[in-house]
Symmetry: C2
Subunit: 216 residues, 2 copies
């Protein structure tokens, strides 16, 4: 038989999964806005972050309330504090998707991404969305193997980031300092987005296996 | 008469203040490493972040433990959840100081900051340290007026950041794309560092006045 405590814990988990869905969608749309210089999409991502922030606050509130009312011990308490860290990471991921969208908006009607780097940036956006979606699966399933997969996806992101930097640092780079700065920042946003999503999976792994999560 | 609960709350506050002190020192030293290309100082900042992370974990643990054991309500509970947000912001600030130090290390023995921008970067480091030190005072004193001061300091940081970008975007910028990218990232680190420190003060302000904190 289920009790109120575990029902509430499940409800919090559902909210965390919903957060991963929202920020995954946000980073996909922000990437589309950046690549196609679409102001309406950029604005929708910026406005949509409010929903992520509200979920974040709600998860915090419900978690702390549950701790205070039910006085969970050991494993249960650890699950709840892990949830607090996860919601914090996801809130930051949402902010980073917004930073990408704001970059698109600031450059509009110009496009921040020259043709030859469109493929790399598109892939960074796709990998970012994939990582956070997988993180959502991990939060839901608590599957340690799936959590380990994310580390490999993060290596792909790092490699894309290096490609981006290498292209801009080549002597023949023709797009000037301003484009390089914008792309360096965009690259940083995607990389950090992925780091936070991987951190989510690591927190779950820590919860399941008891192995200490490494914090950057 | 003081009770165990309030003694523990004070101890957590002391740890938060200590975190502001450590990250303030970290950002000052990281700036020195960046400006003078000092590898030993850069390494010390990178290694020193472990102390910040440990404090962060300890504050989280003690807070959640206190919530579970004492079941605080209303105002007390709010003070504790505010502490959780503050420690999270300070942990991120520490990471950002490390990013500055890592930039210095990556460029070593070259210096990332050309002569004409040394003054601007020095000032960004000084403002960053000042903001987080003031945030520490606010955490200790819960002084709402002092919290408001930080918003003004943050405006100074934003202006320095604009100066940095303007200099690099001038047509006569002679230092190439690589230097511009490094400085754009450094500028971003300082700006985010200040944002997190201001967020700390806003959380305290929210706690004291009940006004909702804006999350970026």
């Amino acid at each position: 038989m289920r009790d109120v405590y575990h029902d509430e814990l499940d409800a919090i988990t559902d909210q965390l999964v919903e957060m991963t869905r929202l920020v995954g969608e946000a980073v996909s749309l922000a990437t589309q806005a950046l690549l196609t210089s679409d102001l309406a999409i950029a604005e929708s991502v910026i406005e949509g972050d409010e929903a992520v922030n509200l979920l974040h606050e709600n998860v915090e509130f419900r978690t702390v309330d549950l701790i205070a009312r039910q006085q969970p011990v050991a494993g249960d308490l650890r699950a709840l504090t892990t949830g607090l860290r996860i919601t914090s990471d996801l809130e930051r991921s949402g902010d980073l998707a917004v930073h990408v969208a704001k970059l698109a908006r600031r450059k509009y009607p110009a496009c921040a991404v020259p043709g030859e780097l469109q493929g790399t940036v598109r892939e960074m956006g796709a990998v970012a969305a994939e990582i956070v979606n997988k993180a959502g699966d991990v939060v839901k399933s608590r599957d340690a193997d799936r959590a380990a997969e994310l580390e490999r996806d993060d290596d792909v992101m790092d490699e894309l980031h290096r490609t981006l930097l290498r292209t801009m640092l080549a002597p023949e780079w023709p797009y000037g300092v301003d484009t390089a700065i914008d792309l360096a920042l965009a690259g940083r946003y995607y990389e950090r987005f992925a780091d936070h999503a991987v951190a989510v999976a690591r927190q779950v792994l820590y919860l399941v296996t008891g192995e200490s999560a490494v914090r950057g």
